[in-house]
C-alpha cells in the first residue's frame, strides 16, 4: 500500500493506487462489453418477432437519430479535448470542455427520451412485442449509462473545483473519459445494428 509514486508518468498514473484503479476500470469495461454484447445478442434474436405489432420501419425516426449520433460523437471529441487540456495542466480549460461534453450528452439524452415518448405514443411500447422489449432495453441500458455518466462527471467537476488538479482528481477525470468514449463506441454499434440495419432490412 506504500505510496509507490512515480512522477515521470502522467499525473493520473502517478500513484500506485491510481494505476490499479485505472486497470480495474479497464477490466470493468471488459465486463461492460460482455453486458452489451449480451444485449445485442438478445436484440439480434428477438428483432424479427413483431407479434403483430409495429416493425422497425414503422417507428424509426432517422433524422432524430442522426442528430443524436452527431451530439454523442461530438461529445466524445470534446471529452478527448478535456483530457488533452488535463495533460497540459490547464484546469479551467479542462472543466470547460467537460461541461461542454456533458451538455452535449444531456442534449443526446433529451432527444432519446423524446424518441421513447414518441414510440409509446404511436403504440410501440416495451410491452408490445419481443422486438420492442429488446429494443427498449438495449437503448435504455445505453441511455441509463449516459445518465449515470453525466451525474458522475458532475461530481468529479465539483471535486476538480474544490481540490484542483491532483493525481486523484486527474485519475477520476481520466476514468470518466474512458467511460464516455466507451459509451460512444456502444452507440456506434447501436446506430449500425439497430437503426441502419433496421432501415435497410
Amino acid at each position: 500500500m506504500s505510496a509507490n509514486v512515480n512522477t515521470s508518468l502522467p499525473l493520473e498514473y502517478q500513484s500506485g493506487q491510481s494505476r490499479m484503479n485505472i486497470l480495474g476500470f479497464w477490466i470493468f469495461l471488459g465486463a461492460e462489453i460482455a453486458l452489451f454484447a449480451t444485449l445485442f445478442g438478445v436484440y439480434a434474436v428477438l428483432s424479427g418477432r413483431y407479434a403483430g405489432g409495429p416493425t422497425h420501419q414503422d417507428i424509426i425516426m432517422i433524422r432524430e437519430v442522426m442528430i443524436q449520433t452527431i451530439l454523442l460523437l461530438t461529445s466524445s471529441f470534446t471529452c478527448g479535448l478535456a483530457i488533452f487540456e488535463m495533460r497540459r495542466g490547464n484546469k479551467n480549460e479542462l472543466i470547460m470542455w467537460l461541461v461542454i461534453t456533458l451538455l452535449l450528452g444531456a442534449g443526446f439524452l433529451y432527444m432519446e427520451i423524446n424518441e421513447f415518448i414518441h414510440y409509446v405514443h404511436i403504440g410501440a411500447s416495451m410491452q408490445t412485442s419481443a422486438f420492442l422489449s429488446s429494443l427498449f432495453v438495449l437503448l435504455g441500458t445505453h441511455g441509463a449509462h449516459v445518465t449515470f455518466g453525466i451525474g458522475w462527471a458532475i461530481l468529479v467537476i465539483i471535486q476538480l473545483i474544490k481540490r484542483g488538479l491532483t493525481s486523484v482528481t486527474a485519475r477520476k477525470v481520466f476514468i470518466i473519459g474512458l467511460y464516455w468514449h466507451f459509451l460512444d463506441v456502444v452507440w456506434i454499434f447501436i446506430f449500425t445494428f439497430v437503426y441502419l440495419k433496421g432501415l435497410v432490412l
Binding site: 434474436v45 424479427g48 413483431y50 407479434a51 403483430g52 416493425t55 420501419q57
Partner: protein, 333 residues
C-alpha cells in the same frame, strides 16, 4: 496405515453398489425399439471406455497412495525435486484425445441417425402423431386417423411413428425411455422425432422437464399393438368416442390432472400450438395458489380475447408464416 485400507475398501464397495443396482431393471439398457437400441449401443461403447479410465486412474491412485504413504520407517525420506516430465505429459494428453475421438465418431453418427427414420424402416409408411403437452397432461392427435387421445397413445408395432411435439403451455420433455430418447415440447414451435416399437407391449412415457406443481403426474402409457389390433382400435374410437369441442378443449388445457380421454376428432381443426402466430392459451389466474400474489398482464394474443385478429400484417410475413421452419428456429443459438 489404517485409513489407506479404508480407501481400498471403499473402492471395492463401489462395484458392489453397481451390482445391487443391476437388480432393478434399468430401462435404458433394455431397449424395445431400434431408436433406443442405437442409444444403448452408444452408451455401452462409452461405458467400456469409461471403465477403462476408471480402472487406470483408480489403480494408479491406489498404487501411489499405498506405496508413498508416510510410515514410521520412512520419516527421514526426503522426496526428490521434480518438475514434470514432457514425455508423460504428452502421453496423458494424447491418450484422452484419442478416447475422445473414439467417442466422438459414434456419437456424431448416432446424432444424425436419430433425426431420421430408423434404418430398415425407411419404406414402411410412418404414422404421424401430434403431441401437445399441457399442464399437466399429454394430448395425442392422429390427424390421418382423425382421432385424439389424452394421456395414452396406441401405436402399431414395427412402424415408424413420426411424433410432432409442441406445447400449449410450459416446456416439457417427451420421453418414452424404452423406445428412445427425449425431446422438448415447446409452445409455438415444433420439434419432431421418430420412434419404433419392436413388439406389442405397454411402455411408460413421461415428462422429464419440470413444469410446476403437477409435474410428477405427467405420465402416459404407450401401447404398441399388432396392426390388426391398432386398426380395430381406430375403428372403435371413431364409432364410440365423442367429438371434442372448442369449449371442452379450452377446459382441457387448464392446469389439471386428467385420466384418459378419447375423441373422434382432433383439436388441430382450430388450433395448432406449433404455429408461431397461434393464440396463447395461458391462464395466469389459475396458477394463483401459494404465497404473495403479484400482478399479471393482459395479453392481446390470449385466446380469451376472441375478437383480436392475430393475422400478421408486417413486412416480414413471408418467412414467418409457414410454421414448418420453427423446429429449426433455434439453429445456431
Amino acid at each position: 496405515m489404517k485409513s489407506t485400507r479404508f480407501v481400498v475398501l471403499i473402492i471395492a464397495l463401489i462395484p458392489m453398489i453397481f451390482l445391487t443396482g443391476c437388480e432393478t431393471n434399468m430401462v435404458v439398457f433394455e431397449p424395445q425399439g431400434p431408436v433406443a437400441r442405437t442409444i444403448t449401443d452408444l452408451i455401452n461403447w462409452s461405458l467400456a471406455w469409461m471403465l477403462l479410465v476408471v480402472v487406470v486412474v483408480f489403480s494408479l491412485f491406489g498404487y501411489i497412495v499405498w506405496k508413498y504413504r508416510e510410515r514410521p520407517d520412512n520419516m527421514d525420506y526426503e522426496p526428490p525435486e521434480e518438475h514434470g516430465s514432457t514425455v508423460l505429459e504428452i502421453i496423458w494428453t494424447a491418450i484422452p484425445i484419442l478416447i475422445v475421438i473414439a467417442l466422438t465418431i459414434p456419437t456424431v453418427q448416432a446424432l444424425y441417425d436419430l433425426e431420421e427414420v430408423p434404418e430398415g424402416y425407411e419404406d414402411k409408411e410412418p404414422i404421424t402423431i401430434h403431441v401437445t403437452a399441457a399442464d399437466w397432461k399429454w394430448i395425442f392427435s392422429y390427424p390421418e386417423q382423425g382421432i385424439e387421445t389424452v394421456n395414452y397413445a396406441n401405436i402399431p408395432e414395427d412402424t415408424p411413428i413420426h411424433f410432432k411435439l409442441t406445447s400449449a403451455s410450459t416446456m416439457q420433455s417427451f420421453w418414452i425411455p424404452a423406445l428412445g430418447g427425449q425431446k422438448y415440447a415447446m409452445a409455438k414451435m415444433e420439434t419432431e422425432m421418430y420412434l419404433v416399437a419392436d413388439n406389442p407391449g405397454s411402455y411408460v412415457g413421461k415428462n422429464s422437464n419440470f413444469n410446476g406443481r403437477g409435474y410428477a403426474g405427467m405420465e402416459f402409457e404407450v401401447l404398441a399393438q399388432t396392426h390388426e389390433d391398432f386398426n380395430q382400435w381406430i375403428t372403435d374410437v371413431k364409432e364410440t368416442a365423442p367429438e371434442l369441442t372448442e369449449e371442452e378443449y379450452e377446459e382441457l388445457l387448464k392446469p389439471t390432472h386428467l385420466g384418459r380421454l378419447t375423441y373422434a376428432n382432433t383439436h388441430l381443426e382450430w388450433v395448432d400450438h406449433a404455429n408461431m402466430h397461434s393464440k396463447t392459451y395461458t391462464n395466469p389466474e389459475l396458477y394463483r395458489y401459494h404465497g404473495y400474489q403479484g400482478k399479471t398482464f393482459e395479453e392481446e394474443d390470449n385466446y380469451r380475447n376472441k375478437e383480436t385478429n392475430l393475422e400478421h400484417n408486417g413486412h416480414h410475413s413471408d418467412e414467418d408464416d409457414e410454421h414448418e421452419g420453427h423446429g429449426g428456429e433455434h439453429d445456431g443459438h
